[in-house]
């Protein structure tokens, strides 16, 4: 087989630059730029209404963008829509399926629409039914299947024609833990072969499956990078949780002697027994658990009940990033009111 000459410098599978989408005066997506390398799995995070689904729809060519460019494997979505549609597998939000078709029938119909030959389709459908654990229901009517099955039909449909780019809008929504495991394995198997974009609210899911995460809020990218790097960037290096009976001023003084950068970031009100939970954080990488334990236990003023080093999850990153972006947006908002600086 002849390899196309531009394969050697391998253009990004998805390249989005300065994407803007307005709906009747409302800006759903405002100046988003990112790119996804071939074979990469990108997690797309954001609160409801952040513009995730809109961005995904623009990537598929279903919605036109107001401004900016989107390229899928080097093809512009705006000018080469037909070519782009051959390169993507898309599973929309809420996964709409025809109610009155049988599972295998539906996959066959979709395969024909995706220009697969009849001879190819039979074995491919068998393979997918096996892969997505749908064999038992292949002759059942889709409208009568449970959410878990429907969700997996949507996923099977998206990867049916083995397109180089897969876009899935909340593929694991409504699945039980066992089914989530199956879907996670399924997506992991695509790694390296296909470029995948997944949006999800189940953050541990994204953390486990995705190579890179993109967090958007209010139509802007507020954080992007590998989950581990994001944690470092947004949350500091380490957090500790201490359950102790103490005054916060005393505690602050003691922890400052252990490591100057260690500070109290949150504290709760005392519970019935007088203990409070403090959250400490530091930018220093080494583990201070033992020092903390020793210092707090030996001091007469404190009664220590528990101490743990918290592992920040993507959830914390998500909350921090979206909160930060709200601050930025709030601060940015009054800007246009001020007079422009004189030259």
């Amino acid at each position: 087989m002849q390899v196309a000459p531009n394969m050697s410098d391998s253009p990004a599978a998805i390249a989005v630059s300065h994407l803007v989408k307005n709906y009747a005066g409302v800006t759903a997506v405002s100046n988003i730029s990112f790119s996804v390398a071939q074979g990469e799995i990108l997690g797309f995070l954001g609160p409801n209404g952040a513009g995730k689904s809109t961005t995904m729809r623009i990537l598929t060519g279903f919605l036109p963008a107001t401004a900016g460019t989107v390229e899928i494997c080097g093809h512009s979505v705006a000018t080469e829509t037909a070519a782009v549609k051959r390169l993507i597998g898309y599973m929309p939000e809420n996964n709409p399926l025809p109610e009155d078709m049988r599972v295998s029938e539906y996959l066959y119909y979709r395969g024909r629409l995706k220009e697969m030959s009849r001879r190819q389709l039979g074995p491919r459908i068998d393979e997918l039914l096996e892969l997505c654990d749908l064999k038992r229901v292949r002759h059942r009517i889709i409208g009568k299947l449970s959410k878990g099955f429907r969700q997996r039909i949507g996923i099977a449909e998206a990867i049916l024609a083995e397109p180089p780019v897969i876009i899935m809008d909340e593929p694991t929504i409504g699945l039980d833990p066992h089914q989530i495991l199956i879907v996670r394995d399924l997506i992991a198997r695509l790694r390296g072969r296909m470029t995948v974009i997944i949006s999800s609210h189940i953050l541990p899911e994204i953390e486990m499956t995705c190579d890179r995460v993109l967090i958007i809020n209010q139509g802007r990218v507020v954080a992007a990078g590998e989950p581990a790097a994001l944690k470092r960037e947004l949350l500091g290096h380490a957090r500790y949780e201490v359950e102790v009976m103490a005054e916060s001023a005393d505690l602050a003084a003691v922890i400052a002697t252990i490591e100057p950068s260690l500070e109290i970031t949150a504290e709760t009100t005392p519970d019935a027994t007088g203990f409070r939970t403090f959250e400490l954080s530091t930018h220093h990488e080494s583990d201070f658990s033992e020092d903390l334990l020793r210092a707090l236990a030996s001091d007469e003023r404190f009664r220590l009940r528990a101490l743990s080093r918290a592992n920040p999850t993507l959830e914390d990153v998500f909350l921090a990033a979206t909160k930060r972006s709200w601050d930025v947006i709030d601060r940015a908002a009054p800007k246009p009111a001020t007079a422009p600086p004189q030259p």
Binding site: F62, A82, Y90, M91, P92, P96, L113, K114, E115
Partner: protein, 253 residues
């Protein structure tokens, strides 16, 4: 256009397995049977000039106005409401192919429903063996008219379906549009005001689009290419508008 056949095949299949198709067919045939029986009762009491086929096809507008919107209202509205239009249009399929495929299926169903009424004439022939009652000319002319005019009527139903995601709204729009097209032109043409010289172009237009006149001509065996062109070009234009309507809705969805 390679997807047209895929979509057409799929739509026809879905029609064949759907109970609503059979309910529609039974209701339609029962209704047409009643009309046919009424006509025959009339013929048995008083001698008539025309063959029963002429009288039968003169009432074609009753089923057309009510059946066509019922057949077409679901096609695009339902896909939009369920969201399956989104999955459909993210495959290498154009909106034109989707509209044409669905139109083709609805038109085939429309034709087969009317073909069912052929049974009424067969029964009449079987039991009377009267050549006057089964005059082939008006019968073939009537069916030809139904086939040609159906092109436009079903397209109007498709346009209504592409305009709203609510099936009921699409249905009512379809009924109103077909009523305006068939009965409205007839009533307008009958007004004396239209005879004024100022309205001469309007009068000419109304005469050109007078559906009952077309039926009359077809029943007499006159197949005027201008009339055929009216339906074919009308259907083409309406389908183009349906595609545009669908795309506009997508742009603003």
């Amino acid at each position: 256009m390679r997807h047209f056949l895929t979509i057409l095949g799929h739509e026809v299949r879905m029609l064949l397995v759907s109970p609503s198709t059979y309910i529609a067919a039974v209701t339609f045939l029962a209704f047409m049977g009643f009309i046919f029986a009424g006509i025959l009762a009339e013929y048995s009491t008083t001698p008539q000039e025309n063959s029963p086929a002429v009288a039968f096809f003169e009432l074609f507008w009753v089923p057309v106005i009510f059946m066509v919107p019922l057949l077409t209202m679901k096609s695009i509205s339902e896909e939009r409401r369920l969201g399956t239009l989104e999955t459909l249009l993210t495959t290498p399929v154009s909106t034109g192919e989707v509209v044409l495929g669905k139109y083709g299926a609805a038109y085939l169903l429309y034709l087969s429903l009317w073909a069912g009424t052929g049974g009424l004439f067969y029964i009449l022939h079987r039991f009377t063996r009267d050549t006057f009652l089964l005059d082939l000319g008006p019968l073939l002319g009537g069916y030809l008219f139904i086939a040609v005019s159906g092109l436009l009527f079903v397209a109007v139903g498709m346009l209504a379906s592409s305009l709203s995601r609510n099936q009921a709204v699409a249905g009512i729009l379809g009924v109103v549009a077909l009523f305006g097209l068939i009965i409205g032109t007839h009533l307008l043409g009958g007004l004396t005001t239209v005879n004024l010289e100022v309205f001469a172009p309007l009068k000419a237009g109304l005469e050109y689009a007078h559906v009952f006149q077309h039926l009359d001509d077809f029943s007499r065996g006159i197949v005027d290419t201008r009339q055929v062109l009216f339906y074919v070009s009308g259907a083409g234009l309406t389908l183009v508008l349906s595609v545009l309507g669908l795309e506009v809705k997508l742009l603003h969805s």
